[in-house]
Symmetry: C3
Subunit: 144 residues, 3 copies
């Protein structure tokens, strides 16, 4: 009988302050370890001022422009905000997280993480200073 798998891994990622870090390879490696042939790879970030996104992985200017766009849309130190005791970048970080993703599921097809050719998975740190960020992966599906 085909085996049903739920494989979980936790990883801690060091960020350099506001910017996005590609984590696709971490997911690819976890999918290989899980032994799932058909299923899904779920990733979750346990924070509210950093988030996840799937974004174009070829031209780095795309992520620079995303950073510019979000900085203009949600300015640090906006006088609209009352939650300011953790810094001018804190409330913008929460809003950026709400507007992007805290969790994602990506198909596993024929034993491989089935991202599109131009898709990368990124952890997006929204605070200006470096942080340690915890993510959990759950790869589930049918094994061989």
């Amino acid at each position: 009988m085909t085996q049903n798998i739920y494989h979980q891994e936790q990883h801690r990622i060091d960020t350099l302050g506001r910017s996005s870090i590609e984590i696709s390879q971490t997911l690819h490696t976890a999918v290989s370890s899980a032994g799932v042939v058909s299923g899904l790879c779920h990733v979750f970030i346990h924070h509210t001022s950093a988030s996840l996104m799937i974004c174009e992985n070829a031209a780095s200017e795309v992520r620079d422009d995303l950073e510019s766009f979000f900085s203009r849309l949600i300015p640090d130190g906006d006088p609209l905000f009352s939650h300011i005791d953790e810094g001018a970048d804190d409330m913008p970080a929460h809003i950026r997280s709400v507007l992007t993703q805290t969790e994602l599921s990506i198909p596993v097809i024929a034993g491989r993480l089935a991202l599109g050719t131009w898709q990368g998975v990124y952890l997006w740190e929204h605070r200006t200073s470096p942080h340690l960020r915890d993510i959990s992966m759950t790869i589930h599906g049918l094994g061989a």
Copy 2:
């Protein structure tokens, strides 16, 4: 052999009009009932003018500021909108829903809903008047 579980629950939630309501405890309780040790807890809202979000759960000003930010970004009664027959807050409610989440999956690790320390799950009512909102939970994974 380890049992594979898909446990489903439906809940109806009374909202007070535009504001967010924490539903983390509803999810924690459903996870306990499900008996899943390793897996995922999925929650879905069956509406297009209310949504879900994971947000900071300590300082209530964070959610006040989110409300202010979204109200400024998507003004009620904006003359841009042609869909106005259900009220000045209706089209903004649809846009807020599209910009946030209709569904979320959160890992279940060692039998517990693995939210980060500062993460809460919220139902966000975007209409100005109170509504009844239906959510469905699907907790799936391996049992004991």
Copy 3:
């Protein structure tokens, strides 16, 4: 013993340029084929300049207004953008994708895709010219 199912399908969808196309029926049909009674239907788009959304399915002005809102929020040809070699609509298409969804899971309850009465699932093409877009569905859960 109840059968555990992971049913996967790939579909290619022809878009007409910037606009949204309802794909709810494609999901309903896949759920019927899968034979899942209790579980989830996951859909994933393998691109970074087209996305998915759950939106009101009755009044077509809702999606017209969404288009107007996103066009005003993220103007084509904005001088803020440095990634311009693929056209004035390319960077806005990436931002629109990041602000909406690349993947969605919808509950399957009693063998049916459990969308709310007014919910439709849409593929949203963000480029101005027509494209071929690949989606993958994974329907998983317990069978009869």
